[in-house]
C-alpha cells in the first residue's frame, strides 16, 4: 500500500480545504437566516474576520483554571480536524481514506466532546456545569441513533469504511428506498443535535440558562476561543460532508481520475455544502428551539427512525431472498 504522490497531495488538499471552507459555511448560514428575518446580516466573510480578531487578542484565564483548560482547545481542534479530514469530500481513495471507518470518525468526535465537557467543568462555575451536563445528556441520546444509522448503511454496503459505503451507493441504480430515507432523516436529526443547532440548542443565544454548547465555552477568550469556534465550524462541515457522501455521493471523483475530475469534484462538493448551509438557515428560521427535556423525545424520534430503517431493510432482505 505504498502511497502515491497524488493521493498524498489529495489528502493534504482535503485537510486544508475543510479548514478553509468551514467558517464560510457558518457565515453562509448566518446570512441566510438574517435575510429571511429581513435584516441585512453580517458579511459572508465575517467568521474569518472574527477568528482573526480572536487570535490577536489576549487570552484571559480564570484563577481556578488548570493546565487542562489551556490544552483542551488544541486537543478539541485536533480531534475535530482529523475527523473532518477523514471524510471523503471531493475524491475517494485518498492516502489515508482507508482509515476512514465511520465508527472511528464518530469516536473521534466523541473524544473532542469529552475534552470539551471537561474544559467546561474546569473553572468550577455553575454555568460550565450546566453546559457540560446537558451536552453529555444530548450525546447519550444521539449516539445510539447514530450507531444504528451506521449499522444500517454498513449492513447494506458490507463494510463500515466510508469509501466502501460511498462506492456502494454510487453504484446503485436510482431507486426509492424507505429505509435509506428513514436513515437520512435520522442522521439529519442527530447532526442537528450534535452541532448544537435549533431545535436542540440556539447557537446565537445570549441567555445562559438556555445554552448548552455556549455555556461550556463561556470562560474561553482569545486564541483558545478561536480554536474552539473553528473546531465547531469544522464539525458542522464534517457532518454535512458525511451526509452528502453517504446519501448524495454523485460527483465524487476517485484518486486516479486526474486533476480535472478533482476540480469538478471540488466544485460539486462546494455546491452541495452551500445548498445544505442554505437549507439549514431556512430550517433554523422556521422552527423554535425546544426546551431541554423535550430534546430527549426529539432524539428518540431519530432512534425510532433508525431502528425502523434496519427492520425494514431486514424485511426486504428476507422477502426478496
Amino acid at each position: 500500500m505504498l502511497p502515491s504522490l497524488t493521493s498524498f497531495l489529495g489528502q493534504g488538499m482535503q485537510m486544508v480545504l475543510v479548514l478553509v471552507l468551514a467558517p464560510g459555511i457558518a457565515g453562509l448560514t448566518r446570512i441566510v437566516k438574517a435575510r429571511l428575518m429581513r435584516r441585512r446580516g453580517p458579511p459572508l466573510l465575517q467568521p474569518y474576520h472574527d477568528l482573526h480578531k480572536l487570535i490577536r487578542k489576549e487570552a484571559i484565564i480564570a484563577e481556578s483554571a488548570s493546565w487542562l483548560f489551556r490544552v483542551a482547545p488544541y486537543l478539541i481542534f485536533a480531534f475535530s480536524w482529523v475527523a473532518a479530514a477523514l471524510v471523503p469530500t471531493f475524491a475517494t481513495g485518498l492516502m489515508f481514506s482507508w482509515t476512514g471507518d465511520v465508527i472511528v470518525i464518530i469516536a473521534l468526535l466523541g473524544s473532542a466532546r469529552f475534552f470539551q465537557t471537561l474544559a467546561g467543568m474546569d473553572v468550577g462555575t455553575a454555568f460550565g456545569g450546566i453546559g457540560s451536563s446537558r451536552e453529555v445528556m444530548i450525546a447519550t441520546l444521539a449516539e445510539p441513533a447514530m450507531l444504528l444509522v451506521v449499522l444500517n448503511l454498513a449492513l447494506a454496503a458490507g463494510s463500515s469504511r466510508l469509501p466502501a459505503i460511498a462506492d456502494h451507493f454510487v453504484a446503485q441504480p436510482l431507486a426509492i428506498r424507505i429505509s435509506l430515507a428513514l436513515a437520512l432523516m435520522s442522521l439529519v436529526i442527530v447532526a442537528l443535535a450534535e452541532n448544537a443547532r435549533i431545535p436542540v440548542d440556539n447557537p446565537a443565544t445570549h441567555l445562559e440558562l438556555t445554552m448548552v454548547h455556549e455555556a461550556m465555552v463561556l470562560e474561553y477568550s482569545g486564541r483558545h476561543l478561536a480554536m474552539i469556534e473553528a473546531a465547531s465550524q469544522l464539525k458542522l462541515v464534517m457532518y454535512i460532508s458525511l451526509i452528502v457522501c453517504l446519501f448524495l455521493p454523485f460527483g465524487i471523483a476517485t484518486v486516479n481520475d486526474g486533476f480535472l475530475a478533482w476540480i469538478a469534484g471540488f466544485a460539486i462538493f462546494a455546491g452541495k455544502l452551500s445548498l445544505t448551509a442554505i437549507l439549514l438557515g431556512v430550517w433554523e428560521v422556521s422552527i423554535a428551539k425546544m426546551r431541554v427535556f423535550r430534546v430527549s423525545e426529539f432524539l428518540s424520534v431519530a432512534f425510532i427512525f433508525a431502528f425502523l430503517a434496519i427492520m425494514l431493510s431486514f424485511l426486504t432482505q428476507e422477502v426478496l431472498r
Binding site: 430515507a181 423525545e297 424520534v301 427492520m311 431486514f314
Partner: protein, 219 residues
C-alpha cells in the same frame, strides 16, 4: 418487479412511520392531522396495488379511504372536539419514549411472526402482511396507552387502516366485504360519537378513568 415492490414497500413503510407519529403526538388536533395523512398514504398504497395487480375495484377502496378517512372523519371529529370543548392535550399512561420502545418491539414481533408463517407466499403479500400486522398492533398500543376517548377512536380507525393494507396485499378481499367493513366502521364512529357526547355531558370530561367510578360491579 423491482419498482412495483419498491413503491409499495415505500408506501407501506410511510404508513408505519405515520403509526409511530400517532404515538408521538400529545395534542389531539395533531393526532387528527396525522391520522388524515395516514389515510391518504393508505389510499395511495391501495391505488398502486390496484394498478400493479390489475384489480380496478381496488380503486374504489382507495377512493373511499381518501374521501372518508382522509377528510370526512377527521373533519367530523374536529367539529365534535370544538363543539364539546374537549381538553386538547392527550394524557399518556406511560411516557412517550417507553411507548415508542414498546412499539419497536411490537414491530419486530410482527415481522418475525409474519415472515415465519408465510414462507412461500409471493413477496408483495408477505411484506404487506408484515407491515399490516405491525400497524394493527401499534393501533392497539395507542388505544391502551392514551387516556382520551377521541384518541381511542383514532386508534381503532388506524387498526382498520392496517387491515385494509393487509387485505389488499394478500389479494383477499372482494369489494362487497370491503364496502360493508367501511360502513360498519362508519356506524361504529357514530356510536362512539354519541357515547362521547353523553360522557361529556355527564362527567364534564372524556377521560376514561372517570368512568371507573360508576362501574356496576364495584363494591
Amino acid at each position: 418487479m423491482n419498482s412495483a415492490y419498491d413503491v409499495s414497500h415505500f408506501l407501506a413503510g410511510l404508513m408505519l412511520v405515520a403509526s409511530f407519529a400517532l404515538l408521538y403526538q400529545d395534542r389531539i388536533l395533531a393526532v387528527l392531522r396525522t391520522f388524515a395523512v395516514q389515510a391518504i398514504i393508505l389510499a395511495l398504497a391501495v391505488a398502486w396495488e390496484a394498478w400493479v395487480q390489475d384489480r380496478p375495484h381496488l380503486f374504489i377502496t382507495a377512493g373511499l379511504a381518501f374521501g372518508l378517512k382522509g377528510f370526512v372523519i377527521p373533519m367530523a371529529l374536529h367539529r365534535m372536539i370544538f363543539r364539546l370543548g374537549i381538553h386538547r392535550e392527550v394524557e399518556q399512561v406511560v411516557g412517550v419514549g417507553l411507548t415508542m420502545l414498546f412499539g419497536l418491539g411490537l414491530v419486530a414481533l410482527s415481522l418475525s411472526l409474519t415472515l415465519k408463517a408465510t414462507t412461500g407466499a409471493p413477496s408483495l403479500a408477505r411484506e404487506g402482511l408484515a407491515i399490516a400486522l405491525a400497524i394493527i398492533l401499534l393501533g392497539l398500543l395507542m388505544m391502551i396507552t392514551r387516556r382520551n376517548a377521541v384518541t381511542q377512536i383514532i386508534g381503532f380507525m388506524s387498526i382498520e387502516n392496517g387491515l385494509i393494507l393487509g387485505a389488499t396485499g394478500a389479494r383477499g378481499m372482494p369489494l362487497v366485504v370491503e364496502i360493508s367493513v367501511a360502513f360498519s366502521v362508519l356506524i361504529a364512529l357514530f356510536v362512539f360519537a354519541v357515547f362521547v357526547f353523553r360522557i361529556r355531558e355527564r362527567f364534564d370530561t372524556v377521560d376514561v378513568a372517570a368512568l371507573e367510578s360508576v362501574r356496576g360491579d364495584r363494591q
